[in-house]
Assembly symmetry: C2
Homo-oligomer: 394 residues x 2
């Protein structure tokens, strides 16, 4: 067996995003013990930086020891009990996944189905809450990675709390790339991933829980049907007592530490602006090339752009050539949208104009290879960047 | 916030064990996508090397995306259903943990309780199986990290299979440090960790499942109460189809790749001999210093040595000084054995004579600091190493 020798890629898919060198270097720091005071000092800093990025003072703020879906599972197994009614907004793959997880533990997922590429309205939520006053939890994806839609959530917490329910929000593809504002928006349970706008490797799920939700946890009638994800058991490791539950993924936490440090060093507002402006440049470039974007600008995510694939384009061949010849990764559609869209990430460290220009040029070449000439998108992308850049980014 | 600057430790606790430089360097390789053919080639190699280390041809052999306890949870949620009877050998913390996980999902754990520091007998198993012919699964820890006991398992699979049950084995603290021989021993479901005798960082759980167990999985009457750990859902990512389930922890898999490569490069038998011989040297040294070992030599683990703490020793101070002044980590006891024993790891990359000598010398000094002079253990450790080394290790 040979030593690993990984050929680098420009990661412009919907995650993982490009991981900066210093984050990867942090992962190669010496491994120390999970009960070492030196490690607890690092954990303290990670928890504190996570609170800043989430926009929360929640005591229970930590990285769950698994990928983003592990955060989802932690939310479901702790805050949903068998027989509970849970309203789940299903506007793409990741909303559907939450509904599946709810059903799997014997609760009842009421699906608020939304056509893929659109968002749910506050009115739809209100109406469903009236229909199901027994609802214990409302689950919604803030940034739907499969469609590129940003779900507006203004007023949601108020309606949910008025009915005595909790609000669970998936921020996997938003955290670090746009304001999440957990406390201002009164979200109760929030999970995320590290490999999107935070630009750390995949393997941890940033997670935060409001005091309101912790009270609900104390009142559970049934045991949490999981040992690994049982908050009541593992929270003491992440609290003042530092009681051993499972061995923390040390090196992953080093990487997250550096990724959070870089985000705060840049400044969160500057980082959010960078994501918006670079995404705007990508959109302008793609549209100048004649592509149609799936999502209406009012609810379009900066972090994932979804592009309709023109008929007669062999989309798999385009992606394979981009990867093999240009070293650029983008993704195809999932589920309903498979074969119909490409998904382009504008995430974290990768959200930079030169990366987008590189993609636009390479993508044009791939289409030429299939006998389809399209205009260049470069000038339009640069122009859009310059126009928006006056508003503040570097 | 400052950039991480981790002070190295000599990790001689029961995990994490010292992680070689090349494993840490592998973790800093460029992150690529979880659907990249280049990554699948790496995954193939990891799966193939895991099969070799496990001693199995099982198709379903993979690293679960979480720490060792995540492997335990994967085993329980997939192969146990509510109402099932499960015999669990409880001879320490980690057996107890399996029993808890069984109870948490609504099954019935029949505990085969063994005094800590001892092992269960085949007769005890037989008698309990006769008492509970409805048993669906028997779960046992091969290497109990909390006591330092190696549980003999000869003949167990035969008895378990005769009753139509499956055999689940926790190999967290054995895999890579001694033969596990999954196929020869006819284990059905086996999980492990990466941060023990494999000397990779914590964060993955090597896992393997027999065809017999997969048949059982197909016959489940109830859904698996977990989204993240549902084998039927995630196995296709680790199989020929490579269907997306959750984002694999890319960098952790790089680290595991290198750790497995190093183990196979050394040679598994050579590696096992090294663990035995170095552990023997440690035992001789500790005994020469007047320490009493908790476990009878016949069932003593090479990978974790448990030492009785003499009365009047301030054991927390000893450990704190070892860590602060000597940079050496060892661990105290868990549960019943808290304050009564130290646990010393002879694991993976750390299982080397000079490391043990360093510990013996430092430990003696820490006792002197508490006014307790003890003889040196160095000569005895070296002599034992030389005597056993004639049998084959480097």
């Amino acid at each position: 067996m040979n030593v690993l020798n990984v050929k680098p890629r420009l990661l412009l898919g919907p995650g993982p995003s490009p991981v900066p060198f210093t984050v990867r270097r942090a992962m190669s720091e010496p491994v120390i013990g999970h009960m070492d005071p030196q490690f607890f000092a690092i954990v303290d800093e990670v928890q504190s930086m996570l609170r800043t990025v989430f926009g929360t003072a929640n005591r229970l703020t930590l990285p769950v020891s698994g990928t983003g879906s592990a955060g989802m599972e932690t939310a479901i197994v702790n805050f949903v009990e068998p027989g509970d009614t849970v309203i789940v907004v299903v506007a793409g793959v990741f909303g559907g996944r939450i509904a599946e997880a709810v059903d799997k533990i014997g609760a009842h997922a009421v699906r608020l189905e939304v056509p893929w590429g659109q968002s749910a309205s506050l009115e739809q939520l209100k109406s469903l809450l009236r229909e199901h006053p027994e609802t214990r939890l409302v689950a919604v994806v803030m940034a739907e990675t499969s469609t590129g839609v940003l779900q507006p959530l203004t007023g949601w917490a108020h309606e949910v709390h008025r009915m005595g329910a909790l609000l669970l929000v998936d921020t996997v593809t938003s955290l670090g790339g746009m304001p999440v504002d957990v406390d201002t928006q009164e979200f109760d349970i929030v999970f995320s991933g590290t490999q999107k706008c935070l630009s750390a490797p995949p393997g941890l799920s940033p997670f935060t829980v409001s005091e309101r939700a912790l009270e609900r946890l104390d009142q559970r009638a049934t045991p949490v049907p999981s040992w690994y994800f049982d908050i009541a058991a593992f929270r003491h490791y992440w609290g003042q007592n530092r009681v051993y539950h499972h061995t923390a993924p040390i090196s992953m936490i080093y990487g997250l530490h550096e990724a959070l440090r870089l985000a705060l060093e840049e400044g969160l507002n500057e980082r959010y602006a960078r994501h918006r402006i670079v995404a705007g440049a990508l959109w302008a470039g793609l549209q100048a090339m004649g592509f149609e974007l799936l999502v209406d600008p009012a609810i379009r995510l900066p972090s994932v752009t979804t592009v309709r694939i023109p008929l007669e384009v062999d989309e798999r061949r385009v992606r394979a050539e981009l990867l093999d010849y240009d070293g650029i990764e983008i993704a195809g559609g999932l589920g309903n949208l498979s074969g119909k869209i490409w998904r382009i990430g504008v995430m974290g460290h990768g959200a930079r104009l030169p990366n987008m220009i590189q993609l636009l040029v390479a993508l044009r070449q791939r289409l030429v290879n299939q006998g389809r000439d399209v205009p260049s998108g470069v000038a339009a992308a640069e122009a859009a960047y310059r126009a928006n850049n006056r508003q503040g980014a570097k």
